[in-house]
């Protein structure tokens, strides 16, 4: 079975199997015997010290003096993302921060490019704009509240039909 793992923005198709000696990693046309024994990672016999933490679909690996984040893409999520969704209805936070102004409220009509919410992340002030014309359905944060990256800041009423 193929699996998808993302490192930064690049997706990799990988597959793990077993043979008599242990696990085999399949990457493209290549195969390597691999093993993980505590903090020792072995790939084709060569060992590297590693520290690994798993949090849901995310795997964090410290190796060669640097930390990396890998994200397992479940097949369902992967196909849903490829098919596209009502992303234009949802205005998300480009970075973590806090709200400094909310010029619109639920029910307001807005035009593409209108400022929906003004956020501050450290010393940067950013006006988050409407991606299209529409009606504001919800504003999910009040002035002073903080949020994390990708938080749903404002929802526009969907334009079905």
């Amino acid at each position: 079975m193929q699996h998808m793992i993302a490192i930064e923005d690049a997706l990799h198709r990988v597959w793990l199997s077993r043979d008599a000696q242990g696990y085999v990693l399949h990457l493209g046309a290549q195969q390597w015997p691999v093993a993980l024994d505590g903090t020792a990672l072995r790939v084709a016999g060569a060992a590297s010290p590693v520290t690994i933490a798993v949090d849901g679909d995310r795997v964090y690996v410290h190796i060669d003096g640097a930390a990396h984040e890998l994200v397992y893409q479940s097949p369902i999520a992967f196909h849903a993302a490829e098919a596209g969704g009502p992303a234009e209805d949802m205005v998300r936070a480009p970075m973590p921060g806090s709200v400094i102004a909310t010029p619109v409220t639920a029910g307001d009509s807005v035009a593409a490019g209108d400022t929906l919410i003004v956020i501050e992340s450290m010393k940067l002030e950013t006006a988050v704009k409407a991606p299209r014309d529409g009606v504001v359905e919800t504003v999910n944060f009040a002035v002073g509240q903080s949020f994390e990256r990708d938080a749903l800041l404002v929802t526009l009423a969907s334009q079905e039909g």
Binding site: H12, V14, V24, Q31, G97, K123, R149
Partner: protein, 491 residues
């Protein structure tokens, strides 16, 4: 320390500096108290304190800025002294006054000194009038009607700053005088928003400047010493990220001069407690920039080269004791470097990052002042500085090597940090040769980029992930070996 007139110290701060202050408080046999917002309930500062007192506010930051609430809680708890740390209420003269009026010792300078140095315009005039070097400038308050004309006369390049500013907020460099008027309008609106004060001043901008500051320490008996300089030229958006002492950019003569000027300014101001006089340095000239009337983030660099515990010195002089030593007794040995570990993504224009602290291991034998703890979470509620890594070596080359190894050995999983970026900075040839200026990072955008992973690294990362993911191991274990051996061909 039996001469101290207080038996307990309340830390009105959070994060790594609260932990660091509590360490000395407890080492001196004093009781350590800390205030905390619920967002910091499980923080290392709360764990380190003998008594932790909850404070509330509309936001976590607002709670730590609520001086009246903190003084009331300190009083109720019977705290003998309050240490404000840095940021928050540390340079708030009203807070210092309220603490004193509540019969509690404020661990810091007098309210008058905070007010003098907190107003950049007054501070600059004070320093200039006493014959210390300041950059050519124009101050809006002198005559608001002619401000733009006088600013133009300072000449390009120039720097616009809010009078009430600090930490780089609202500062603008103008190289083309044609846009000066527009930039003044923008700086004014930023000053108004950040500090509630739109007054400005401009000064000559030194191209390729170095940021050099001098640690000073004064007591209530008129004694002032300097504790040598720190170079903090490695900055991004006016935020320091690597600090060191001694500065690799000063000649011995310049070093003596800048340190003596700093001590002279502190003496003229009747300064008590720990403070830092900041200078801009370029082409053999240095100008007074500002004085910070508090303990600095980067104070450990000075502690490493002088062997002094700055928090212990602060507590001693706040308690009324004389310094007890003169300038000749303060010596500097070896070379110290501090690296600020930030929750930020250098490849996304240093946007702050958040996440769980799944694993946090600090390197053995190296001083790491941490505000995070394994099992905690990095949120956007506070400043993104997570920890400071501080190394000391016999010389700069040894200190850089130790710093690089410490960063490589520090493991933080769950939240992206600037550790790899810091290592690239340490390896930069200009940094290594000591040829730096405050624009170095902006001048070298490639340093912010992660180099692409090679095939070997990619394979090992994917192997580590595949072997750690339950889903993938289970899928492999479920396939009989015979089929597994053929699987690659059938797929």
């Amino acid at each position: 320390m039996s001469e101290l007139p207080f038996r307990s110290v309340l830390v009105a701060n959070r994060g790594e500096i609260a932990v660091r202050i509590l360490r000395t408080v407890k080492a001196l046999g004093l009781q350590g108290l800390v205030v905390y917002h619920a967002a910091d309930r499980d923080s290392p500062a709360v764990r380190a304190a003998d008594i932790a007192i909850e404070i509330t506010g509309p936001t976590p930051v607002a709670a730590y800025l609520d001086g009246a609430q903190i003084v009331a809680k300190a009083r109720a708890a019977g705290a003998g002294a309050i240490h404000p740390g840095y940021g928050f209420l540390s340079e708030n003269a009203g807070f210092a006054r309220a603490v004193a009026e509540a019969g509690i010792v404020f661990v810091g300078p007098t309210p008058e000194a905070i007010e003098l140095m907190g107003d950049k315009v007054r501070a600059r005039n004070f320093v200039a009038e006493r014959g210390f070097p300041v950059a050519p400038s124009a101050i809006e308050d002198d005559d608001p009607a002619s401000f733009n004309e006088r600013a133009r006369a300072v000449g390009a390049p120039l720097l616009i700053k809010p009078s009430a500013g600090g930490g780089g907020k609202g500062m603008r460099i103008v190289r083309d005088l044609a846009i000066l008027d527009d930039e003044i309008v923008r700086a004014r609106s930023e000053g108004q928003r950040y500090f509630g004060d739109g007054r400005l001043y401009v000064e000559r901008y030194v191209e390729r400047p170095r940021h050099i500051e001098v640690q000073v320490l004064g007591d209530a008996h008129g004694n002032v010493v300097h504790l040598f300089e720190r170079e903090c030229s490695i900055q991004r958006r006016f935020q320091k990220i690597i600090e060191e002492s001694p500065s690799p950019g000063l000649t011995p003569d310049e070093r003596t001069r800048i340190c003596e000027v700093a001590a002279g300014i502190a003496r003229a101001a009747g300064y008590r407690n720990a403070g830092t006089v900041e200078f801009i340095y370029g082409a053999g000239e240095f100008y007074f920039l500002e004085m910070n009337t508090r303990l600095q983030v980067e104070h450990p660099v000075t502690e490493e080269v002088t062997g002094l515990d700055l928090v212990a010195e602060q507590l001693r002089v706040a308690g009324g004791a004389p310094l007890g030593y003169g300038q000749e007794a303060v010596t500097s040995s070896g070379h110290a470097i501090e690296l600020r570990l930030y929750a930020e993504d250098s490849t996304r224009d240093f946007a702050p990052t958040t996440g769980p602290v799944l694993i946090y291991r600090t390197p053995a034998g190296v001083r790491v002042d941490s505000g995070i703890v394994e099992g905690g979470r990095v949120t956007a509620a506070f400043d993104p500085m997570l920890a400071k890594v501080i190394v000391h070596g016999a010389d700069r080359v040894e200190a850089i090597a130790k710093a690089d190894k410490a960063l490589a050995d520090l493991v933080l999983l769950g939240c992206r940090t600037n550790a790899a970026f810091l290592r690239r900075l340490l390896a930069d040839p200009d940094f290594a040769s000591g040829d730096m200026h405050t624009g170095l990072i902006a001048e070298k955008p490639a340093l912010a980029e992660d180099p692409p992973l090679d095939e070997d690294q990619m394979t090992r990362l994917l192997a580590a992930a595949a072997l750690s993911l339950r889903t993938m191991r289970d899928a492999a274990d479920a396939v009989p070996r015979l089929h597994a051996a053929m699987g690659g061909w059938r797929n």
